[in-house]
């Protein structure tokens, strides 16, 4: 069975800048796949290539085995979504806009307008011009527009950006609900919490390169093995702890890298040295920390960075 998304070696250059640098992505059916990276990392450019809006300089993407470069919009059957903010005609009403895109979809899309408006909770504002819509309403109209295609794969580019907290919560609930219906979702985001909450697999991208691709829990687990230590004498404790693993200062204490055995030995050593332990807890790196270590790390080589992070 062809994967909903299979991209191999995607490259897009703008002059001297390589916006997307040999990106490989595989999104399997049923995934809620997080495409995570800071602004300007190349997320949107990748999505544009997947949707056939721009041509890759190298590599190819296939959606359910169909290449948008070769098949044009025929490769988008069963695929919907938007890049950057969804855009509509400001001088037409929400419903008219949906009627327009449905007419360009054919295949019964027009019959789904009412339902789509209900799903995104816009039915009562559908008669108003989009020009008067708030940012959040436009985002929701974008989702409604995507649903008209009865998609099996949804590509969403930072769908919660610019929404207020309630809007974000509702949007995430909506994405979870759509994923629950069996729609494969590629969610691009720079919000760690969002990806942790919604996604089971992630690709982390920085400066156009994929720094990590795989299961989210594996990524987080790979960064285990760090302990937070609070004592009555942090300076002396740091000296002792350095014999057992790498030590770093954090506000109000230290972190020590090590496994269970070395931490047990460290606690005994601290006790013998007369340093009181007020707290010694395993600390799981959050996705945010992993992300920042990967995307801001000093190493110029992405894969090398991954090893550092995994360590």
């Amino acid at each position: 069975m062809a994967a909903p998304i299979e991209a191999r070696g995607l490259v897009k250059r703008y002059g001297d800048i390589t916006a997307v640098d040999h990106v490989d992505l595989t999104v399997s059916a049923g995934d809620v796949y997080g495409y995570l990276g800071p602004n300007g990392a190349g997320k949107t450019t990748s999505l544009r290539m997947l949707l056939g809006l721009i041509r890759p300089d190298e590599g190819a993407a296939r959606l359910f085995g169909r290449d948008p470069l070769q098949e044009g919009v025929r490769a988008l059957d069963g695929v919907a979504g938007f890049v950057e903010a969804p855009r509509f005609y400001p001088y037409l009403s929400g419903r008219r806009n949906l009627e327009l895109v449905a007419a360009l979809d054919g295949d019964g899309a027009a019959a789904r307008i009412g339902e789509a408006l209900d799903v995104v909770d816009l039915a009562d504002r559908a008669k108003d011009r989009v020009g008067g819509y708030s940012h959040g309403m436009r985002q929701r109209l974008g989702i409604a527009g995507a649903l008209l295609r009865a998609p099996r794969l949804l590509l969403l580019d930072e769908p919660t950006t610019g929404l207020d907290p309630a809007g974000m919560r509702d949007m995430r609930a909506l994405i979870r609900r759509l994923a629950g219906q069996g729609i494969t979702v590629l969610l691009s985001s720079h919000l760690m919490g969002e990806v942790e909450e919604l996604c089971d697999r992630v690709a982390i991208i920085g400066s156009g390169r994929v720094l990590y691709e795989g299961a989210l829990d594996q990524l987080i687990a790979s960064a285990a093995g760090r302990y937070e230590l609070r004592t009555t004498d942090d300076v002396y404790a740091a000296e002792i702890a350095a014999r057992y693993g790498d030590v770093a200062e954090i506000p109000g204490g230290l972190t020590v890298d090590g496994d269970e055995r070395s931490v047990a030995e460290l606690s005994v050593a601290l006790g013998l040295a007369g340093v009181g332990i007020t707290a010694l807890v395993p600390r799981t790196a959050t996705l945010e920390e992993l992300f920042l270590r990967m995307t801001e790390g000093p190493s110029p080589n992405g894969h090398h960075k991954l090893e550092e992070v995994a360590r």
């Binding site: 069975m1 062809a2 059916a29 544009r48 949707l51 056939g52 809006l53 721009i54 041509r55 359910f64 085995g65 169909r66 070769q70 098949e71 044009g72 919009v73 025929r74 988008l76 059957d77 069963g78 695929v79 919907a80 979504g81 938007f82 890049v83 950057e84 903010a85 969804p86 855009r87 509509f88 005609y89 400001p90 001088y91 037409l92 008219r96 327009l100 895109v101 007419a103 360009l104 979809d105 054919g106 295949d107 527009g145 295609r149 998609p151 099996r152 794969l153």
Partner: protein, 287 residues
């Protein structure tokens, strides 16, 4: 492009919309925009202002324009004077106003990505837009001529018209020739629209495309006024702006009409081909 179903892939769309769906919606979009009505409004207002000016001043007339000396004799002269008056500036401007916007408007609104990720091919979108721009051009032109004809006829009567050859023709033939002359003038206007569409596609900026289209129109008129370049005249777009007058001669002077047809095609078809190529190949960014 294989017709073989890919396992697990969503079913192929069975009924795919095409140029007609795009065209219908392009017309609806035009009808929802102010710009359209500014153009259409000017096309209706100018003949009315002309008629009012004639009524206010009981003796003078636009004697320097074709049919100018007959405006008070028959209503049929009014649309023809208006056509001769609007042919070089007003009507190209109104045409450029919409043609120059038809693609650039999508760039401005960021909506190209919205319509290009549905089920219509890019060339469908382009063809629908080009047809809509041409439809608007024809609509504006016939509104312009029509309102002048109705206003002129109501005031000065639908009396026989003196042709440019000095012969008299009855009302029925005058109506027929006015319609035919307008259709003949639609040829250079279509070329102007095609240039507008090209600049709209290339510049992605509505104002630049509208002004650019007018600059092209002015440029060919300047070349036409240089006597050293008289040899070029028959092939200039501006020369075709009054080719329609051949229809209003007896016998009909087909030479300028036939030349207008192929000269205008020489402008319009490459412009549309270039625009289509650019539209098909472009990266849709922004928005």
């Amino acid at each position: 492009m294989s017709a073989v179903a890919v396992p697990g892939a969503p079913a192929r769309a069975t009924r795919r919309p095409g140029v007609r769906a795009v065209y219908r919606w392009e017309l609806r979009k035009l009808l929802a925009q102010k710009r359209t009505f500014i153009g259409l409004g000017s096309a209706v207002a100018v003949p009315l202002i002309f008629v009012i000016a004639l009524l206010a001043d009981s003796s003078g007339g636009p004697d320097e324009l074709p049919f100018g000396s007959f405006v008070r004799e028959t209503g049929f002269a009014v649309p023809l004077v208006c056509l001769a008056f609007g042919a070089f500036w007003l009507l190209p401007l109104i045409t450029a106003l919409v043609a120059g916007d038809i693609v650039a408007n999508e760039d401005h609104n960021g909506t190209l990505k919205t319509i290009l990720t549905r089920s219509v091919e890019r060339w469908h979108v382009f063809a629908g837009k080009a047809l809509a721009a041409l439809t608007y051009t024809a609509g504006v032109l016939f509104a312009y001529v029509g309102i002048a004809l109705v206003a002129g006829g109501l005031i000065w009567g639908f009396d026989p018209l003196t042709t440019l050859s000095g012969t008299q023709i009855d009302a029925g033939r005058a109506l027929l020739l006015t319609g035919a002359g307008t259709l003949a003038y639609l040829l250079p206007m279509s070329a102007i629209a095609a240039i507008g569409i090209l600049l709209s596609t290339l510049t992605r900026n509505s104002a630049a495309a509208v002004v650019g289209t007018l600059m092209v129109s002015i440029f060919v008129q300047i070349i036409g006024s240089i006597s050293a370049l008289d040899a070029l005249d028959p092939y200039l777009l501006s020369t075709q702006f009054n080719a329609w007058q051949g229809i209003l001669r007896e016998p009909t002077d087909w030479a300028p009409i036939v030349r207008s047809a192929w000269v205008c095609a020489l402008y319009a078809l490459p412009a549309l081909g270039w625009a289509l190529t650019a539209f098909l190949r472009r990266d849709v960014t922004g928005g």
